[in-house]
């Protein structure tokens, strides 16, 4: 089941891909710098103390709760799934992008995520008898279709608005510049065959591109001196951008 055709994936990647990510998205996803360096280990010990058995350390979350993060992970995994086309939003770490961005450029959507995720899971339990994360992939797709079409109940306003919001953010997290925390290891750009940011394209590059033979250089815009974070911040001050809910 797909929520977006391959042709639409390519179109959206062209729009979202290189630099069309909300300004002020913040520093790259590197974890919280105000926490001790042994944070993952401390979290693991806490989990062990709580559950009485060893658990793998969880990557620190910045804005979502653990339950919300699990739900977002499950949702993005269905929106752009790992399949015969290749890796998807999971490998691109789109959920981590969303978690990070909800503290910055997407902060205005934080409450929408709180209420929307709660409504989605409640709808899953009431209609399918299980939390969303415990459903099969097919049943998860069925839920998401109902949310997408507005047939799901319990949402503030239409469930379709929440679906479109999460889909949009999943696209950002999959195809945006890795500088902003998603598109991990350039997974999204490789998925759609985007050869990477280039400030110069030679005639040979163009010929290879037309033959679909131009290998990705796996470079972020911010690998180039002209696209430093300071430059991005200066530009955002001159043209403030606000993310709609």
């Amino acid at each position: 089941m797909t929520f977006i055709s391959r042709r639409d994936l390519l179109k959206r990647a062209a729009v979202v891909g290189a630099a069309a990510v909300p300004a002020n998205a913040g520093r790259p996803f590197q974890g919280r710098h105000d926490e001790p360096d042994d944070e993952p280990e401390r979290l693991a010990l806490r989990e062990t103390a709580l559950h009485g058995e060893a658990m793998a350390p969880r990557e620190p979350l910045e804005n979502l709760t653990a339950a919300e993060a699990d739900l977002v992970e499950a949702i993005v995994a269905r929106l752009i799934p790992t399949d015969a086309n290749g890796p998807g939003a999971t490998e691109a770490r789109a959920a981590h992008y969303i978690d990070r961005a909800l503290g910055g450029a997407l902060a205005s959507s934080r409450q929408t995520y709180t209420s929307g995720l709660a409504a989605l899971d409640k709808y899953s339990r009431s209609s399918r008898g299980k939390p969303f994360t415990e459903l099969s992939a097919t049943d998860q797709d069925s839920i998401l279709i109902d949310v997408e079409t507005g047939a799901a109940t319990g949402f503030t306003g239409s469930s379709a608005a929440f679906f479109n919001l999460v889909l949009n953010h999943t696209h950002q997290g999959t195809f945006g510049d890795p500088y902003y925390g998603g598109n991990a290891n350039f997974t999204g750009w490789d998925l759609v065959g985007y050869p990477g940011i280039r400030t110069m394209v030679t005639a040979a590059d163009q010929q290879r591109l037309e033959k679909k033979d131009l290998r990705s250089n796996h470079k972020s815009a911010y690998d180039y001196e002209a696209f430093t974070k300071a430059t991005a911040q200066n530009r955002s001050r001159r043209s403030p951008h606000k993310e709609g809910a």
């Binding site: 209609s127 399918r128 097919t138 797709d141 279709i145 047939a151 109940t153």
Partner: protein, 183 residues
């Protein structure tokens, strides 16, 4: 003038050659005529397609098609919840829960069937989600066709009805009801 007369005569001959479609008896293990549909066939439950059975299908049937439509909704009505065609003439009905995954195979008894495009713009069954206020009626209409039309994927109800015009030799339906209450 002569050509207009000829055309009119031809039309008359064509219409006269057509008889009313044979009435197909449509039933279901889960739906009851004019009664509330089980919630598992709606988004309030599992939202799976209902099982249908049919009988009294004309012997010369080559394939069948089914449409689920709600005449109480849509602009203009009806709102279409399901389109499925290319059903083998050997099928005695549709099993429950036709796959929503396009990669999944159709059940063996309806191998080759194609799900068309509904009002939700998806090639799958999506059940009733009427706005609260009044019950809606959901017509599961079965068409028996006199030819294998080799219909392509992606047909809407309107496309299907245009394609099968002149080929319908049997028709029947079962109507179920569903209502959502205000929260």
């Amino acid at each position: 003038m002569k050509s207009a007369v000829c055309a009119a005569l031809l039309a008359g001959v064509t219409l006269a050659a057509q008889t009313a479609p044979q009435k197909i008896a449509v039933d279901s293990p889960t739906l009851r005529a004019d009664q509330t549909m089980p919630r598992d066939h709606t988004p309030d439950g599992r939202n799976i397609s209902p099982p249908l059975t049919w009988s009294n299908v004309p012997a010369s049937t080559k394939e069948l098609a089914v449409v689920c439509e709600d005449p109480d909704a849509g602009n203009p009505p009806p709102f279409v919840h399901w389109v499925i065609y290319g059903i083998p003439a050997t099928a005695k009905g549709l099993p429950e829960a036709i796959p929503i995954d396009p990669a999944a195979a159709m059940p063996a008894e309806i191998a080759g069937a194609i799900q068309g495009v509904s009002g939700f713009r998806r090639p799958i069954y999506r059940g009733p989600a009427p706005p609260p206020g009044k019950p809606h009626h959901y017509h599961f209409v079965v068409y028996a066709l006199d030819a294998n039309l080799n219909l392509k994927p992606g047909l809407t109800r309107a496309d299907l009805l245009a394609a099968i015009q002149g080929h319908v030799i049997g028709q029947g339906e079962i109507v179920a009801i569903y209502e959502r209450k205000a929260p």
